[in-house]
Subunit: 268 residues, 4 copies
């Protein structure tokens, strides 16, 4: 009955990230004291997720991504949920930040992961089948049309014509020579979409997806990096809610459209 004997003690978990003891803390082999003196927080984020420190150009791209996703206004779903939690629960700053994090998924902030899978799929077809990116992109868009699904990383509720952050990210990637097949394929998808459906531009999630593919990250990082960046904004939103607003200020107006009040039969 292995593992369920109440006398069993638990074996240690294993990890390759941090080695911490009374006299040392090392992150992927790097002494954290050295990192505190010389590295940037962005370097550390890269190191935690990639097992090495970034180059100057890679760090610039990470900084641009993290800044680009950190906050998009108090009314974005994640920020609004954090503020609602801060408004109702004044006991715990971490509860409010966590409520904001929980709002992040494929629909809000997390499309980067799906877009990385899509781009990796397309780049794989180009390499494997020897077809041009435009052809592969067209196939993927046709498949999405056939299955009635939307392409993750394209379109934005607010920036419907163009997400201005995309040009900045891709410009940085191009100038540093880090833009590769991922960025090229993302643009091919944008063209195929415009041609076959409508001009639905890349959004920030799609742009970070293309760059993370070119930097060699697994697709989960598309979502995780959004979370890491957005938490900076959630923290500031929660601080503002605590310091500027009264508890319980928020009531969402609701219209009831369910069954009518039931008249009770009198019981004898």
């Amino acid at each position: 009955m292995k593992g369920h004997n109440p006398d069993t003690r638990m074996e240690p978990w294993r990890t390759s990230i941090v080695d911490a003891g009374p006299a040392h803390i090392r992150v992927r082999g790097h002494d954290v004291l050295d990192l505190m003196k010389e590295a940037t927080f962005t370097d550390l984020i890269f190191l935690l997720h990639h097992n090495r420190l970034p180059s100057i150009d890679e760090r610039r791209l990470f900084d641009a991504i993290l800044i680009g996703v950190a906050d998009h206004g108090a009314g974005a779903p994640s920020c609004a949920a954090a503020r609602l939690a801060a408004s109702g629960n004044r006991q715990s700053l971490s509860a409010a930040v966590a409520a904001g994090v929980l709002t992040i998924g494929d629909e809000h902030g997390g499309a980067g992961s799906g877009c990385m899978d899509l781009i990796a799929d397309g780049v794989g077809r180009v390499r494997r089948d020897g077809i041009p990116p435009a052809t592969a992109a067209g196939v993927l868009v046709d498949e999405a049309i056939a299955s009635g699904s939307r392409l993750p990383g394209f379109g934005h509720r607010v920036h419907s014509n163009e997400d201005p952050r995309v040009a900045v990210l891709f410009g940085l990637a191009e100038r540093s020579g880090l833009a590769g097949d991922g960025v090229r394929f993302a643009r091919a998808l944008e063209d195929a979409l415009a041609e076959r459906v409508a001009p639905i531009p890349l959004n920030i999630d799609g742009a970070l997806a293309a760059i993370l593919v070119d930097l060699g990250f697994p697709s989960m990082v598309g979502k995780l990096l959004f979370i890491v960046g957005r938490v900076a904004g959630l923290s500031a939103e929660v601080l503002e809610e605590y310091t500027r607003e009264k508890p319980m200020r928020i009531t969402i107006p609701v219209t009831y459209d369910g069954v009518a009040a039931r008249v009770r039969q009198e019981q004898e």
Copy 2:
């Protein structure tokens, strides 16, 4: 260097709640199979928090409390946060329910704990100092006025004249003979408040607090029981959001009132 040696295995945790093995599951000594056949979920909630099953009258009070707090409309902070999370993150039902739970604190849904402490304080003064409840209640209200704090468990945003659930709860407690010093002192506080400040009636949190004091629960249960009841409502709200509404339907309107756009000096 006890506890930090990477070779150390973890000792088992201890618990007095559930004993589970391959052939048995017992909750506070009761076979869960028997409970499944004969008890109600409300019995189990009582048992989990009190180490014995409730009487019929105690069960009625618990049912009334749990029903009374389960849902107060989609716009209540906890329900609204759950819906925001469901709207942005369609990956995880538990994430949406959890976002709703996180909104619960002293200001929203959790005042029962503070009110239980307040009532226990008052009842203690009555017993210890041999003063009438009205006197002790007056002292506590004066102290709250002096410190500029509000009495937890009194007043409601929607039910400003009277929270109709209070009379039901207290009626059930009176009729079954379970109402005791807690319920009496809660009413004394209501009178003292009306006399010294304004008519600010008990709300559902205050009523459940009074009853939980009389049933012998620790004050943390004031908040926990609200959470257990409200999760039933959060679950239904999340289900409705998933089944009736599109992802990302929610945008909270925002007005910016911060510093103006900064004009950048051109750099040479």
Copy 3:
């Protein structure tokens, strides 16, 4: 620029669950005051998710399900996460309960949803194709074998021979006449699995799935009902952690197996 004008006020949300105003609270048309006096919390849970009150037999099944999933010991992932959060964060009971809820997904506690989809698929094939349940079950098991996936709702880490809660649930369903195609098909899957792979018995998630299919619930309820029941246990686990244990008592032992400490080149 619809919806993004900062002057726009937000339209009310719609809901068919609760209608609350200053003088009334109705859940799906039922006056909450009546429910508090006469219904059980389990009735309300059924009503919130199904738009009508349960029969006596349906209520019994719901009670049995909610009791069966409420707690499985302090070391279950959801309970352990709630205790870890309670150990590190003593500010917020709701934060600890929420951390437990977040641990629930397809792998822990949430297999009921996947199993409901599976059973509905199988029952649909039986009806549509006019094949016996055993044949349809065999096809589904073969498909799972071919795709290398596991059947949700079968097998349990602790109850590897048999989950004793299953017989109780199915017994109640049989005796009340509520067991239907869902329960029958779940048993057919169990047989097909035993024949083709190994005896991997239904677990509690699988049993509740079969019953919820027969009661006419959508598959999301498989996960949600587990959450509603488990929160009762999480609440008790958190209460025990606060009252019996010191903060920060928990350290998980870890072995580092990553890259070795990096020796720094001295810089001139």
Copy 4:
């Protein structure tokens, strides 16, 4: 019945942090596109919480703080809770990160806020009463002894002799001239504690608290900055759990020490 009329539309929320529209996103007046090109993520974190960009030395201190708190091993409560959630719930990366965040409170990672209040209290006494820091520190330590409370920001489970990150942080603050009354008073508290109780050195939370006081931040930032930094580590821990470990690998061993199994009386 203001605010509860179902026809009421919600007024916009106000914010001074982000102004976002179709063609612009500004953070505290700064164009986010400029920030993406030129600023670091650490600059942005400072800006979000302080309404201006940091100096080079302030940025160095923020980087050192964020790096210092980002991760302390997979077994730290926040990291362990994130891994438990990732192990049980494979649907949602954000759920796992959020479970880790929820573990952060006064006891784990959040002592910085309490320590900032303590230091601000002490520095205020020094200025107001014209007493030396050592005297004020002694008074505060005596008060803590009298009330049986511990000083937040002192002592560490692993680094019991000395937290090596403290010297690095204070060294950076001293060399840049940013160390002020806050850092001095934290050291005075350490001395008073050693003299009156035992050598209980400052930990990383205490060191960041002293520095944040000197940089002019409100005390909530002590906790929030820990959260922002730790989320980078939580993200990496969750990624490792998903990529290296199987779902549901974690079972915490438990010993039951509650009431014995109850023998049921047979019912006629």
